[in-house]
């Protein structure tokens, strides 16, 4: 049994240096204080919030499904936008993904492909939707263009990563029998990425369906426009009905796409 002086023990801290820990704590608290102080809060208007909320929720409940045809048309348009955008986006993402795959494309082509994909991803679809609305007018065309760009960004990136991880042996085998670039692509690259491509397409369809509800808010067609109108006219019960249907559709679509992905995988 030990009889020496008492031994202490403290848990080794996550960040070793005490100065760094102190500095970080000060930095975090300082940031929070600065942010809260400099952000403009209109307390007068905010304090009106709770009674307003009560009025809105009171007006919104129960949800009104009277204008069902309007709801249905809005959703139909959202589906169409999502379907066409997914089709175009997935088709177009394939060449860009091939371009953006480090193991297949020469460097300059790779950089161009990467740039296109990064730019497609940087902007929130809503911003892109506004720009397209200004360019080609209100309506689903702007929505389709927006979501196509959005799809190219997401599917393209994931696909490029897939291509970078394929079994190189198969490509070598094709090359060694004298296959050209396209034939190599078709026989060695595409079969390896095709299952994932189908999964990605379903996921993107689901994603586009959600996004199509939103781009409508800025005029690019779909259920979003219907929702925006309802809000604008203070038709909170109709708005609530639309929201409920949006949630339901998203849940169903998530379920269906999950099921399809499992079957196809």
């Amino acid at each position: 049994m030990a009889t020496g002086p008492a031994r202490t023990w403290r848990k080794p801290p996550f960040i070793a240096s005490p100065w760094l820990r102190f500095a970080l704590t000060v930095a975090v608290l300082g940031y929070l204080g600065w942010a809260l102080a400099t952000l403009p809060f209109d307390w007068g208007r905010i304090s009106e919030g709770l009674p307003r909320a009560a009025r809105i929720f009171g007006g919104g409940f129960p949800p009104s499904f009277e204008r069902l045809e309007l709801l249905a048309t809005g959703f139909k348009e959202s589906f169409q936008i999502a379907l066409l955008a997914t089709l175009l986006g997935v088709l177009l993402s394939i060449p860009f993904a091939v371009m953006a795959a480090r193991n297949i494309s020469p460097r300059p082509v790779y950089l161009v492909g990467r740039a296109v994909i990064i730019v497609s991803r940087s902007f929130h679809p809503v911003i892109v939707a506004i720009l397209f609305v200004k360019a080609v007018g209100f309506g689903p065309l702007a929505g389709i263009l927006t979501l196509t760009l959005y799809s190219i960004g997401f599917v393209g990136k994931l696909l490029a990563e897939e291509i970078e991880e394929i079994d190189w042996g198969q490509v070598e085998a094709m090359r060694s029998v004298g296959a050209g670039f396209l034939a190599t692509l078709t026989y060695a690259v595409f079969p390896q990425i095709l299952p994932r491509q189908i999964g990605l397409s379903m996921y993107q369809l689901d994603s586009n369906l959600r996004a199509s509800a939103v781009v409508g808010i800025v005029g690019a067609g779909g259920i979003g426009s219907t929702l925006m109108n309802a809000f604008g006219r203070y038709d909170y019960d109709f708005a609530f009905a639309i929201l409920l249907v949006i949630i339901a559709v998203i849940l169903i679509s998530e379920g269906v796409s999950g099921w399809v992905r499992k079957r196809v995988w």
């Binding site: 049994m1 030990a2 008492a6 031994r7 202490t8 023990w9 403290r10 848990k11 080794p12």
Partner: protein, 261 residues
Amino acid sequence: MLEISQLVKRYGRHEPVLKELDLSVEGNSVVSIVGASGAGKSTLLRCINRLIEPTSGSIKLNGCELSTLRGQALRQSRRRIGMVFQGFNLIDRLTVMENVLAGRLGYVSFYQAWRRRFPQADIERAFELMERVGIAHYANKRADELSGGERQRVGVVRALMQEPDILLADEPTASLDPVTSEQIMKLMQTLASELSLPVLINIHNVAQARAYTERIVGLRHGRMIFDGPPERFDKAALEEVYGGIEAPDESVAPSVGEEQA
């Protein structure tokens, strides 16, 4: 002093896993429980500290009835029962010292546990025990950086930190190589006598049961069919316990040295 009487455990409407088991463990004996897989060894041990709920029967530890306790009283009774697991059940991302001190969780407040401000006496005892088993130099190492034998030692120290009235070990050596498992068995045997602690060990290896324990209890299909000293556990008894179910593990480790465990 552990007294189990008429213990029954049944899942749903199936055949009971434990059938009216009676067992008494006195003083500081080291008792091994042998039996084929499915005989009910693990279930028996886990019924004692209520990790599995007994269907009926009584379990008394030092006169206190365990099977009816709830909430705070149950947790306090669990403090008195230390358990060593087959899979070591350590918290991999925490240090060895934290794993060891976790044995005191039943005794400290939430704040002390959160800030790792355990009482000095606990820390002293932790160091003592770790030195005794030979892992003190690992105190600030992550638990998953240790070898299997070392991790089980941490498990043993954690259980002993509870200052328990009884130690339960559920196949403590099944995941270890033969040499290490002999070391662990020897360790538990010596610690049991040093600390005057009764120990119940579930074990598959009959040779180790014979060598390191002073009493063998044989289970078959939930019933106790052998209870006696190792000398009496002969071929016939072996056949009764394992016969027709599986071949018992009688392997002996290649020349285990006399090193201090």
